[in-house]
Amino acid sequence: MPRTTSQRSIAPVTSAASAHAAPQPGITLSADSAVAADVKALVVAGKRDAARERFALLVTNLQRRAGRIAYQYLRDVQDADEAVQDAFVKVFTHITSYREELPFEVWFTRILVNRCLDLQKARARRLRWIVPTPSGSDGIPYEPVAPQPTPEHRLLASERGRVIMAAVQELPDRQRKVFTLCQIADQSTSEVSQALGLSEATVRVHLFRAMRKLRTLLVHER
């Protein structure tokens, strides 16, 4: 369920260097924001090895959520993987420009979404000139299939799962992106508006319309 305000509490700050960054009034920073502030302080101090080790924790915490967002944008696991990697690398190389008083997740999500949009454009250009090859024929091995279906597999294979996926795909692009960020990334409308560069009112309108359309499409399937 998406939040309309930031609700996560801040974790204990582990380094003295990040303690001087006071959050903006009304914004409660997350544990990931504190870790990001630590990484920034370590980079500024020239302790790059320690910064990398600390950043590894941030990657662990955020990569699954980042993969979900990127996959909803790109609908291709290879492209989504690339987008997530690029976003994390960019975050680390530009960590000194991170403002500790703002939620790290919003900054990261914005970088990730921009990278996804870049890859979408590149893919559109590629498809204009090159005939796509069938999956698996370009030397990329297939993902091994799990011998036992996971709960996720079972959910997607169910009739209800298929109907929901089809309904989400019917949403207009902007509505789907807003809805996805709110639902999957567990971000508030305020955070989504910052991540997408839209006004919060616009985000609310898109979200409301997306939910109304989904309700219309799915109400008969209940």
């Binding site: 662990t60 979900r68 997530v84 994390f88 799962g161 999957i184």
Partner: protein, 169 residues
């Protein structure tokens, strides 16, 4: 889900909407989690850290070549120096001798071999007079045609209509 600013709904509608959105959320998450397996996430994690290490590694400083490189060949082989010196001296002597021969009065001049072979230094072609009138030029042309190769051009001349014939018609 309650969106701030959205039209108000009944409690039952809100509850069913929440259940609906929970279902949608679960499906969307499952859709991504199926392709982003734990193994893929572990590989991704390793790739990210490796790329970060590569990008942040300080650049290698490549040493410039030695300021005083070893001089090859000539220093090690004194005999070569004498050969090079003799070649340079020969070149200088040749150039100086050429200048002297050219500048001295009555010096050697280059004489065309064809003139020497014919035994005469006078040119064999006569200059064309630019004062020849048109009548003289055409007359000479007729003489040339009639004397050399005129018979060969006769059929062509027969085919060509004459000016006075056209005028008579």
């Amino acid at each position: 889900m309650k969106i701030p600013g959205a039209p108000s709904e009944t409690p039952s509608e809100t509850l069913s909407d929440e259940r609906l959105m929970d279902d949608v959320s679960a499906v969307l998450r499952a859709e991504a989690d199926v392709v982003f397996t734990d193994e893929r996430l572990a590989r991704q994690h390793a790739h990210i850290l490796r790329r970060i290490e590569e990008e942040t590694r300080p650049g290698q400083v490549i040493a410039f070549p030695n300021a005083q490189p070893t001089r090859p060949a000539l220093r090690a082989r004194p005999g070569m120096r004498w050969v090079a010196g003799a070649a340079a001296a020969g070149l200088l002597i040749g150039v100086a001798a050429g200048h002297l021969a050219h500048d001295l009065p009555g010096g050697i001049r280059a004489i065309p071999s064809a003139a020497i072979a014919s035994g005469s230094l006078q040119p064999t072609l006569q200059a064309v007079s630019t004062t020849m009138s048109e009548e003289e030029f055409l007359g000479q042309m007729e003489i040339a045609i009639e004397t050399t190769g005129g018979s060969a051009l006769r059929p062509l001349d027969d085919l060509t209509p004459l000016v006075w014939e056209i005028a008579a018609q």
